[in-house]
């Protein structure tokens, strides 16, 4: 048996594979295709203090080897989440990580405080990087000082370990990872989507009602791997990697780059069983290479030898 267990900020996951926030609802929809008990963790869609309507449609569109989305963080709010979605997730033998979003510091703190008493919640992932909310939340994730400040406020309010989710839309990802660490983050996750745009040339209009959207999928994988590598070298806290993971091999690439765990996002839409396939693929890789424990490959990439 290969060892697939990993630990992030003191929380044990049976394997390093999670769902990426916003691509797996609160688990129910893909529960028809995937055995949720197999997953390292389910990361929920962003949850805010009150219900959010999100953006007008069209909200999604395909791009070469990827897609753009501008959902705008529609969600039923933390109360409905706790009453309806959390009990559903709690039935499974997997970790629940709640992705938290907000327009203001206060918004985040309200959600974090409301979740403090929920023992079914193992960790919080703080989305300071969603490019689709217009009221300035992106600034938290694009300025190191803001990021550090909000991290430490949330850290003080949170009962669970917090993962700061970083945006790739920055000049220096290492600096952002260090800012999160300095603020007390227990882990960082990256990458969120890269801001992009598509234009319908026949109608001469933006395809997305929001004009811009977030690019995800295999198209961005090389950028994600690079940033995970840079972040992992910059900080001591664990890094959770994501961006275009489709197979176990892709996941191994992130692990080698320095991620302690990985998340599967857009590719769930291509193949609902991607998360399970990724787990199987990592196991097969470890077996093929005679590696006993998945932890042994974290950050193990080396330079070419000639």
């Amino acid at each position: 048996m290969t060892g697939m267990e990993v630990e992030i900020a003191g929380v044990r996951l049976k394997n390093p594979v999670m769902t990426a926030s916003g691509t797996f609802g609160a688990g129910q929809e893909y529960g028809e295709f995937v055995d949720l008990n197999r997953l390292g963790a389910v990361v929920t869609k962003g949850v805010s203090n009150v219900p959010w309507e999100g953006n007008p449609v069209p909200r999604v569109t395909e791009t070469p080897s990827g897609m753009l989305n501008a959902i705008g963080l529609q969600n039923p709010g933390v109360e409905v989440f706790c009453e309806r979605d959390l009990p559903f997730l709690a039935r499974y033998d997997t970790r629940v990580i709640v992705n938290v979003c907000g327009h203001s510091e206060q918004d985040y703190l309200e959600v974090v405080e409301r979740l403090a008493g929920e023992s079914a919640v193992s960790m919080l992932e703080i989305n300071v990087s969603c490019p689709n909310v217009s009221r300035g939340a992106i600034a938290f994730g694009q300025d190191p000082d803001c990021l550090c400040a909000i991290t430490s406020k949330i850290r003080r309010a949170a009962a669970q370990p917090i993962i700061m989710k970083l945006t790739p839309n920055v000049t220096d990802i290492a600096e952002m990872a260090r800012a999160a660490e300095a603020g007390g983050a227990d882990a960082v996750s990256l990458i969120n989507t890269i801001t992009g745009m598509k234009i319908d040339i026949e109608r001469q209009r933006f395809v997305l009602a929001n004009r811009t959207g977030g690019l995800s999928g295999p198209a961005i994988r090389p950028v994600a791997v690079r940033m995970v590598w840079q972040a992992a070298r910059a900080v001591k806290i664990p890094v959770i990697g994501m961006g275009g993971i489709a197979t176990g091999e892709d996941a191994v690439e992130f692990l080698l780059a320095g991620a302690s765990a990985v998340a599967v996002g857009m590719m769930n839409f291509h193949e609902p069983r991607t998360t399970e396939n990724v787990i199987g693929g990592i196991e097969a890789y470890l077996r093929r290479h005679g590696i006993e424990n998945v932890k042994d490959i974290v950050g193990a990439v080396q330079d070419q030898v000639f």
Partner: protein, 286 residues
Amino acid sequence: MQVQRQNRFKAAMEVVRTELLAGDIWSTILRYPEELAPEMREARPGQFVGVYPKDGSRLLPRPISICRLVPEERTLRLVYRTVGAGTEEIAAMPAGSAVEVLGMLGNGYDTESMAGRRVVLLGGGLGIPPMLELAASLYGKAAPGSGQEVPSAAERKTAVTAVLGYRSAPLFLKEDFEASADAVYIATEDGSEGTAGNVLDAVRERGIRADVLCACGPLPMLRAVRDYAAEQGIPAYISLEEHMACGVGACLGCVVKTKHEDPHSHVKNARICTEGPVFPASEVEI
């Protein structure tokens, strides 16, 4: 709104036959594996599938409605327009090849509630194909309790009228409807066949009476159907489209504004792929 169906799957199907019906409208017949018989038994007209392109640069499923489901032959028929690379790829898939399909998606029409009524199906353009399975499942059905599996003409209670709106001749699927509806009327925008105008022009011109309207087609048509149904004081069920990513309710990509708070989302947004694509016309803001 209607209860979500529980007949989802992702499976490979075999391309049996693809033919060009008219212009850029194609018909593809897929054969599904035996294992899917239960899911297909649960299928309802108005549900749709997601067809995955094979090209690795195109990762999202293409939503296409059930045009016809023939369980005896294990076939699923799709009729679609080639509008982009994905549908072009589907139309070019050789007979015998395999294609990945995500199904059965969406709620579909509640045909039981329509039994014994005068149901008028309004299909405009690519809204025509999904009406065929709806016609076929309503046609020849007696009202519940009649106790007749194949009722005689006199006992037949559900009256199915299809009104099909095309841009122009040549028409497609007309013969198929003639075999599955009590009456079929045609409207063409350019007047090349039937009523000149849209489906509602045909309804008015032919004095077609309805207890229930079911409609699929472009938004302006659906808005007109909603208004006509309100005017007539009858229910109308309309089938909506939106850009989709997951097709299963997970991404919240495909919402429509609703009149009242949606019970799933707790905001006035319902997921077309899950709570829809069929909605009572009076409950959505289109």
